[in-house]
Each structure stands twice: as C-alpha cells, then as structure tokens.
Assembly symmetry: C2
Homo-oligomer: 399 residues x 2
Amino acid sequence: MKLSNNVMSMQFSPIRKFNGYAFDAKKKGKKVYHLNIGQPDISTPPAFLEAVKNFDETVLAYAESGGDTKLIEAVIQYFNRFGAKIETEDILITNGGSEALQMVFSCILDPGDQVMMAEPFYTNYHTFIAAAGGEIAPITTTAEEGYFYADPVKLEKAYTENCKAIAIVNPGNPTGCTLSEADIQVICDFAVKHDLWIVADEVYREFVYDGGKMNTFAKYPAIADRLIIVDSVSKRFSACGARVGFVLTKNKDMQDGLMKIAQGRLCCPTLEMLGAAALYELPGEYFNETRTEYEQRRDCVYRELMKIPGIVCQKPGGAFYIMAKLPVESTDDFLVWLLTEFDDGGETVMYAPAEGFYATPGLGKSEIRIAYILKQEDLVRAIELIRLGLEKYKAEGHR
Amino acid sequence: MKLSNNVMSMQFSPIRKFNGYAFDAKKKGKKVYHLNIGQPDISTPPAFLEAVKNFDETVLAYAESGGDTKLIEAVIQYFNRFGAKIETEDILITNGGSEALQMVFSCILDPGDQVMMAEPFYTNYHTFIAAAGGEIAPITTTAEEGYFYADPVKLEKAYTENCKAIAIVNPGNPTGCTLSEADIQVICDFAVKHDLWIVADEVYREFVYDGGKMNTFAKYPAIADRLIIVDSVSKRFSACGARVGFVLTKNKDMQDGLMKIAQGRLCCPTLEMLGAAALYELPGEYFNETRTEYEQRRDCVYRELMKIPGIVCQKPGGAFYIMAKLPVESTDDFLVWLLTEFDDGGETVMYAPAEGFYATPGLGKSEIRIAYILKQEDLVRAIELIRLGLEKYKAEGHR
C-alpha cells in the first residue's frame, strides 16, 4: 500500500507548516504577531449571521449542486456594477475559491499538462494543479522589478507546448501586483494566440489602492469563451470561515465539466450560502471603508519595512500582501530562529517564507510574504520585531 | 481548448440528470413523489441550529485545516460507543462524505489504478474515482441474490493487478445490503492477502434493521493500518445540507497525504462544524426513534413493491434504499414516460434508474433505486403510481 504519485508530489502548505513553532512559542508565553496568513481582522458584516439565523426550515436539506438561486442572483447583481453581463448558468457556487480552483484544474488538466503562472504565486496553486496531475510553467519575476509579469517577452519565454491555461491572480497574492487595462490586453492577446484558457482569480478585486480602477476579466468579450473567473467571499467580506466561492464561465463545455464534479460532491452548505447572499446584497459603499483601511496599512507596512537595512521591496498596488527580500540566506531558517530563539520584551513575529511560492528551485529563499491584516500599531510593532530580529540574527553570525 | 480526459470520462449524476423532466412536470401542475434522492424528511435536530446561532465572534475566521477541535472530540466520544479507540490525529473533518471520498481516492490512485467495489454502487463513486484517474473493478451482484458480495470467490474473480483498494459501503447504498461479522472478516482477509487499502463508507452505520448489530471496520485491529473510514452527518442526523463529514485513518502516511490536500482547500466552514459537534453530542438513544421509523418504511415499501407483477426485489437489512428489477427494458425510458406522459389524478413518481450504478456496460437497465425517505402514506401512493404506471406503459405496447 502506498500513496499516489500525485499526493507524494504535493507539499504541506508553506504558509501553515511553521504553525507548530508558533504554537510552542505561545505555550512558552511569547506573544506572536501573525503576518503569515491572509486572515483579516475586519469584522464580518452582521448581515451574514443574521441571514443564517433566519433559516427556519425543519430539515437542513441538500441544496442544488450549482448553488442556491438567491446567492447566484446576488452575485449577478454584484457583477452588474462592473458592467459585466452574467447569466444564471454562468455561475457555479463552490466551497470557497479553493474548491473552485480544484474543480477548474481538474477540468483543464491531464497528467503532464502545464499552467502558466507568474512566480511567486499563491502557494496552494501548487496543490490544486498537482492534484490534477499538472504542473506550473512559471513566469519568473523579481523583487527588484516589483514582480511585474504582463510582458509579452516574459510570457513567450515561459510558454511551453504543454501549457493549457494561464492563471492570473489580480490583484496579486502574494505580490500585490495589479494589472492595468493595457496589461490585461497583453494577457488576453497572448491567451488567444496560444489558444489557452484564462483562469482569472479575482478574490481581491476590491482591494485596489491609489485611486486605481477595480477591474474584471469578465468585461472583455473577445476572451469570453476561454475565460474562467474564480472568486470568493473570504477576503471581500472578511468571511474566510464561510467557505463560499464561485466559478464564472460562459464556456458551455466548461460549465458541463464543472457541473459533473459539482454533482459528485452534491452541494455546498445551505446556511453558508444564505449568509453569503446577504453579503453580496450589501451596497457597493461597503468596500470604501475597508479599502481605505487597507491602503493605510499598506503605506504603514511599506514605510516601516523601508527602515530595514538591505531590504528590497516595492510598494504594491492591491490585495493585502507585500513581498520583501531580506538580507538573509534563508527566510525559513530566520523564521524558525524568530519563533524559537528570539523575543523582544516577550514578543516575536511570524511571516510566510516565500520559497514555497516559487516553482523554480532555488528561488525565493531570501524572500517573505507579509499579510497586512493587523491594525496599524500592531503592524508597526511586528515590522520592528523583524528589524530587531534581523539585527540580532546577523550579530549572532547567521547569514 | 478542450476539457481534460478525466472530466470527459465522468458522467452527470444519474440521480440528478432527470431533474429537468420533474421540474417540467411540476410546472404543468403534476405532483411528483420523489423516491430518487436520499434526502430524508426527518427533522434535523434543533441542536444544530442552536449551536450555530450561539456563534459570537466578530470575525468568521479560517478554521484549522484538519477541522474544529470540539467536533473532532465529539466524534471520538461517539466512536467510544462502538468500542473503537480513536485519537485526535486519526480524524480529518471534510466537506461532507463526498469531499472525504475525493480526498481519499486522490491519495490512493494514480492513472490506471483500480478500486474494487460491489456493483450496483453509489453512483458518485464513479466521479470520485474518475477524478483521480482511476476506475472501478466491479464485483458484480444481482437482484436475484439480494446484491450480496462478501464472498471470496466473487472477490477473487473481480480482483486485478491494478487494484489498490476495496471500497465498501456498509450498510449499502443503493442495495441496503448489510455485512455480518463473518462477512467483514472475509473482506479483511481478502484485503490483507492482496495488500489493499480498505475504504469503508459507513455513513448509514445506525440504519440497521431486524435487531441487527451496528458495526464499524474501526473495531478490527488487524486491518487498522490499511483502513480508511469515510463518514458524514448527512444521513445520521438528517443534516444533508450541513456538508460535514470526516475521514478516519490510523495510517500515518495517509494522514499526511490527506492533510496536504486539506491544507490546499484551507478549512471547512466554521459554523457547520459547530452545529455538527452539537449533533455528535446527542445521546445514543437519538437514533432509536429514527431507526424504527425507517424500518417501518422499509417494510411498507417492500410490501407494496411485492404487489407489482414481475418485480424482483429482496428485503434489505439496512440504509434507506431498496433496489428492484422492473419488468421493463429500460427504467430510464420508463422514468421519462412517467414524468412526461403519465399521471394518475395529477400525480406521478420519480425514482433513480440504476444503470448509472453499474460499471459493467449493459447491466442495471431494468433496475431502479428507491429511497424510502417519505412518510408511509406517501410511500404507499408512490409505489402504487409505479404499479399503475407500469400497467399503462405495458398496455401502450412499451417493453
């Protein structure tokens, strides 16, 4: 008895794999500032729980495989704001954006197939793509150039004959990169040229700063037949624990493929879909306050990071992550040291080491991802702890 | 752009694929008795929604990937009733039994690998196994012998070199077959002999009639290292819409493989896990009333079915399904006719045609699965509608 090659080739989540060290640090009485996971501290709108509490049927029954009609309708109304015309059959509700991505790659990939994707990328793409027997064809980007990837030369360089899709996270996790209209056009043209599916992960759609425009690939009719949008309530409404997402596609074959998988797992939880429908019914103004808060946090984190000698870091335009290159050889080793050896007044800090965000071996070892999901005073202290930690780490002779 | 071979080889749910006909029939004012889906009409215990309503955190945050500690603890206590000693790390909470099965087969199967399974089987196994690139090696059983499969000769005949696992649903869906202690021993010995994983789907564990003993493969230490139990709250607590299940295994490699996939999809919904924990805390007596109700329904359905001339049907010992062979060439065609051409006083009936429950081409075309999830007077009427329909169908010259 052995495990499948697919599962053997998967990795444990690099974001979660150091949790044991953090757990031990806390057991010893240390306070740990968590910058490692995209769990916002913003309150979930009360509308969610109110809708759940209003459920009054005596049997909590199976829902439709494609999702609750009320939620689908609310999602369609939400897309109207962006000028995208969506039909009921275009939407399939999923258990978070995660299940959406699992389903999509299962529909696209046969063993050996590849998905183009800018690296560093959200690390769980490794898992979703490997589960379908595929692999990532990385579009390599660097800290020095702000992780920009929408460049025809870079795209052509990364392309192989085995590529079936290009996956875009916009605004980006972990880089915070945002695409302009022109950037999107570059990607659309490239996908058409090579006959690729476009998997557009837009879960951070509202998190665009500096007056930048919110956008969606759903607005570009020329690629409508090859477009698969993945989305989620997790970040948009600070409702990560709801696990409600969706896939949006106008490609009929893809709709059929997704529905086969969806019917296999029967349906999503009824109560969570009721709650999510209430979230999508919130007015568009809901996002303004949250956006302002995150923009201020981004500015704060960036300002504090720039005080660290030797750091390489560009100010990102969206999402709520920032990547940084630290003057150490291994941010894995530095993190373990921070959690086990270091404290300043009983406090330490945790980030996500970035090696697991790369497909190309050897890249990302000196980089970290920070999720700026804490209030500003905590962010200031957390970045200070990285700075103080670095000073001590270097002084102890670590490299 | 095309879809993956895996998804192309999958089928739409044969249980759900006739829903459009039923929808149209209802739109025309017909009443449709649904015997086609295992959605119980028993009330979900109020403890579920009470626990959900008591949630009082301001942020609905990600849960642990392996599941909520309170729920895992409640599951462990529940297993104590069966004399099975389960540890925290043995349990991984999933989005229903469906996700549990997807994960398990993804951990076991490489393309071309096979899973032994009695046919007819719960049709979504097709989807779960195909999604992992595998296929079913069917242990063929028949209506005439009550769909019994725990026979060394039958098992050896179905075995191939590509088999990596044997999957058992006990009590059985769709057959209602239950395994005796001796039957379980036959399967355990066979799995050890051929070094197979045992995937034991025990979601109907409590639904055993005629004074039969509830059982679990978790009680057999000789196979502990090759055992993977899949379970769910859906049927046990009439909470299908909660989508809470779990995998139980003591095999450390399997635990690691499952956790990799679980971390990829982050976690299950927090609120549903709180509700499910409250369900598992219900006293063991909770099941007695439900069991009695279903046993009476089974007797009722069987009695009514036996009034149909030419039917082949054995009284099953568990779950809440009964398979029957009707004197028609195609139960698919007969069902479409029932929904589109037939009514008796404005009423008709829907069952699940059984062809999709078989892996061997050509089998099951004359068989149906009935879920006895309606109250007895409705069951009597529903079976009467099948009988009246059959008379008219034959009288019209259909075969």
